[in-house]
């Protein structure tokens, strides 16, 4: 039994489909999942008064993998990611990143990770250059000017560099936010709907940059998205949540086969209705 399988919440999987089985296989083109994981979510729960936003969630993200966290609105994705970031303290269970409990030891690992979310903005009154400088210094980036130059080139930010961030278009803001998320060359990258406000062309452009970064750095990426095409393109593995629980997980193609669906989009809709 692989490490991933041990963390599968069988109880919920069975509720969704009697045919549902954990992901199989250990392909040679991916890092070994039996290594210490980059992210380990263990019995994670979050209760707000009487409501369980996250209810007994377990999964791991092996180092170097890109894992998609999917689910409809209110499924518990953002709360789960917030607990992995240490912004929210779990009611029970724990979220570990690079071996550190994010509720109690987050300061030991924050410089090795970063995140991007459309719900969190960069200071709008600062120019793009000023924002990158400030966050670069906060993360203690060595050779900051050179790193910013790299990001300017990678994300084609040259023409907006001295413009005020708040006055950029949604697409430009996303590019700047992703550039900020990569400023410290993070080992672990958390992305909350990274292409939410982009047109298909720009979204594909951002995905290509993320793929290139992941390949170059060997980074671990956990992303939440409503865009199933994006998830199929980027993710090695997918965790689907509904009503605060994990209802299925596996490789995108395996999930489609398992639920006898054409693609992940159909799996998502099927699970949203059944679970």
């Amino acid at each position: 039994m692989s490490r991933i399988e041990r963390f599968l919440p069988r109880r919920h999987l069975t509720q969704v489909s009697p045919n549902a089985t954990p992901a199989q296989g250990n392909p040679s083109d991916l890092p070994n999942p039996d290594e210490a994981p980059a992210i380990a979510v263990e019995d994670l729960c979050k209760q707000y008064r009487t409501h369980w936003a996250v209810d007994d969630v377990n999964f791991i993200v092996p180092k170097g993998w890109t894992v998609g966290l999917l689910g409809g609105n209110g499924a518990g994705k953002t709360t789960t990611i917030a607990m992995i970031m240490g912004l929210v303290v779990p009611s029970f269970g724990r979220a570990m990143v690079l071996g550190h409990d994010m509720a109690t030891e987050r300061h030991k690992v924050l410089s090795r990770m970063n995140f991007e979310s459309p719900y969190v903005a960069l200071p709008g009154r600062l120019t793009v250059r000023q924002n990158l400088m400030v966050f670069g210094r906060l993360y203690g980036v060595a050779n900051l000017k050179a790193r910013i130059e790299e990001l300017i080139e990678d994300f084609e930010l040259g023409d907006v560099l001295d413009r005020v961030t708040g006055r950029l278009s949604a697409g430009q803001k996303t590019r700047v936010a992703v550039a900020k998320a990569l400023i410290n060359d993070p080992e672990v990258l958390l992305l909350d709907e990274p292409t939410a406000s982009l047109d298909p062309d720009r979204a594909e452009w951002v995905r290509s940059r993320l793929r290139a970064y992941q390949k170059r750095r060997g980074a671990t990426i956990l992303l939440s998205s409503h865009n199933m095409t994006e998830v199929e393109q980027l993710c090695d593995f997918v965790v689907i949540m509904s009503h605060g629980r994990v209802v299925a997980m596996g490789r995108p193609r395996e999930l489609a086969e398992r639920f006898k669906c054409r693609d992940l989009d159909e799996v998502f809709i099927y699970l949203a209705r059944v679970a």
């Binding site: 979050k46 707000y48 936003a53 953002t78 709360t79 917030a82 970031m85 240490g86 912004l87 929210v88 303290v89 300061h107 924050l110 410089s111 990770m113 970063n114 995140f115 979310s117 719900y119 969190v120 903005a121 960069l122 200071p123 709008g124 009154r125 600062l126 120019t127 000023q130 400088m133 400030v134 966050f135 210094r137 906060l138 993360y139 203690g140 005020v164 900020k180």
Partner: protein
């Protein structure tokens, strides 16, 4: 240590960029203290010329106005700089970065000091030019008064910032209103003796009371009350410690409540 200083410098630079980006904001820092000083200044002129019994104490009024402004603007500078993070929905970015709470607090303190110098120095100059009242005539005591008032303003600013993190925008109005509660109790314009006896312990538990009593001692008797300033400094150290502890506790409470990610929405 170096990394810590670097992060404090980064945050201070961030706030400085904002300040520099808007001349209106810069003007606003000077505008309110200047307007207040003009009103009280003209009253001072009237009292000074009136040969009334109050004329001899007219200088106390301007001294009190100036020092009260140090306390009030110090706290506003601290809190408003922090609120900038809430308004720009940037708090989660900061909380996810390696920035430690004490580093954030230190940068807010630095910025409060910068705003205070920008806002207060021109007004002090204006007071001298227009009304002939030289606040620097208080001598080295002025530095002690300034230091103690600034420390108090930071302690209160930390608590207000913590409450905003914990309670959200509902607590934002505290930024404007909390100092007004202190105004009658810390005896800005009158001595402690003017308060009813049962309020004396309350007044003496507030650090600004020591400063304003100290100021009156300098302006009326020409004596600098070292004892008052030392007591005030000790109290301030305790209040600053309590302020920071409260800030961290409220921050931790917000992490339990789950409000940090959506703060500002």
């Amino acid at each position: 240590m170096t990394q810590s200083l670097n992060r404090i410098a980064a945050m201070t630079a961030r706030y400085y960029y904002i300040l520099r980006s808007s001349s209106l904001r810069l003007l606003e820092i000077i505008y309110w203290p200047a307007m207040q000083m003009l009103v009280w200044g003209f009253l001072y002129t009237y009292l000074y010329d009136s040969k009334s019994a109050m004329a001899s104490t007219a200088g106390l009024l301007l001294g009190a106005v100036l020092l009260w402004d140090v306390l009030f603007r110090g706290q506003l500078g601290f809190t408003f700089t922090f609120l900038e993070e809430i308004w720009s929905r940037n708090l989660a970015n900061l909380m996810m970065s390696p920035l430690q709470p004490f580093e954030l607090a230190a940068s807010l303190m630095l910025m409060s000091l910068i705003r205070l110098v920008i806002g207060t120095l021109p007004v002090m100059l204006l007071t001298f030019v227009l009304f002939g009242f030289n606040v620097f005539a208080m001598g080295p005591g002025l530095l002690a008064f300034f230091l103690n008032l600034v420390l108090t303003s930071w302690a209160i600013g930390l608590i207000v910032a913590g409450l905003v993190i914990r309670q959200g925008f509902g607590a934002e109005s505290l930024a404007y209103s909390i100092m007004i509660v202190l105004l009658p109790l810390c005896c800005v314009y009158y001595p402690v003796a003017a308060l009813p006896l049962w309020l004396h312990p309350v007044a003496w538990s507030l650090t600004p009371t020591y400063v304003f009593e100290g100021m009156r001692a300098v302006l009326l008797d020409g004596t600098f009350r070292t004892d008052l300033m030392i007591e005030c400094l000790a109290l301030n150290a305790a209040y600053l410690g309590m302020g920071f502890t409260t800030f961290v506790a409220l921050l931790q409470s917000a992490r339990h409540k789950g409000g940090l990610l959506t703060m500002g929405e």
